[in-house]
Symmetry: C2
Subunit: 210 residues, 2 copies
């Protein structure tokens, strides 16, 4: 445990009490130091070149720019900065938005001393700290819907459509005529209630059919 430098941490959190409590906890550690604590993203982003944080603890709900947009901007400026979202809610859509924006961890505001520091340690170790519920939410998001209305053949064809294949390519790959492929696709569209390939792909991804 002989780190020459402490990891630089920035906290972005509008609730002053939580901000100070988190600062105290982080600074109490041998391996981390708070180089900046802000009540909004705008100020934090303006100070980024000076602070040079390796890790950012980012609230999602913030006055002005929200934490998701802030995450995007910070990652855009320096993609090696690791961002941990700090939130009260474990709301599904927000989680995925934050992850897409570039967050690598997800903890709740109720995190205690140990939880906060072990999340930081986990990030340094190259992991992705998150609560049981978030982990499960993320994993479940990969699962394919077992209640698909499509037949096996239709699912195969939808898969090929999602890979960007044309009618001709699909028919060649499955050794069926182009007209048959067309029929299957018509049936897929009718079951999914869509009328184009890209709509079918959107629906398939949303409903986890492939």
């Amino acid at each position: 445990m002989s780190l020459p430098f402490k990891k630089r941490v920035v906290i972005i959190e509008d609730d002053q009490e939580i901000r100070e409590s988190f600062s105290l906890i982080v600074n109490s550690s041998q391996r981390f130091m708070v180089v900046g604590a802000y009540g909004n993203c705008e100020d934090a982003i303006a100070a980024l070149n000076r602070d040079k944080p390796e890790i950012v603890l980012m609230d999602i709900e913030l006055p002005g720019m929200n934490g998701i947009k802030g995450t995007q901007i910070i990652r855009d400026k320096n993609s090696s900065t690791e961002i941990i979202m700090v939130t009260v809610y474990e709301d599904s859509d927000l989680v995925f938005e934050a992850l897409k924006a570039g967050a690598s961890g997800y903890i709740t505001k109720s995190a205690n001393y140990t939880e906060l520091l072990s999340a930081l340690e986990e990030i340094v170790r190259g992991g992705a700290p998150m609560s049981s519920r978030i982990a499960r939410m993320v994993i479940d998001n990969y699962h394919i819907n077992p209640n698909s209305p499509l037949t096996k053949r239709e699912t195969t064809i939808l898969q090929l459509i999602s890979e960007g294949k044309t009618y001709t390519q699909i028919s060649e790959e499955l050794f069926i005529s182009k007209e048959t492929a067309k029929t299957h696709i018509k049936n897929i569209y009718s079951k999914l209630q869509v009328n184009s390939k890209s709509e079918a792909i959107a629906k398939a991804n949303h409903d986890k059919l492939i």
Copy 2:
């Protein structure tokens, strides 16, 4: 901690030594019991109605049917069965295949007494046990590529394409002419080296451009 019944666990693992070692560990717990241990998926699936497992510990590399296909089939028969993959490799593609097939956890064969039991506990608690590396792999898989060759406008349009919108809908949504939308899309195709919407969506998803 007064559970009236122990959770029913099935182990599918072709290495007899590991299978027996895992069985001993699971059976040593107050909360779990091994109701079946098999060297391949075929036998395990045939015994499913009798074993009625709540949790399956599944090896990926197996003689005959592999663990991913086995996961699909078991989940298909009873989607409330939780499956934990057990593997030597933390290979990227296999992880995602297993998750899509319906796995909810991912541990390595080197797992010791504590790791194995805490993975089982984590599953019961509704979580998703996985190693740091896997967690990070899964999270990174959500991140949008910051090195996109597309402009902001092109990315917006690609996003709309991926939602299944037509040229007309895109032009209306962005208050531009249909011809302009077309020009942007042509430029997107040329940058991504594709020639259709669905191919563009496939590439966008693969390269994490949206």
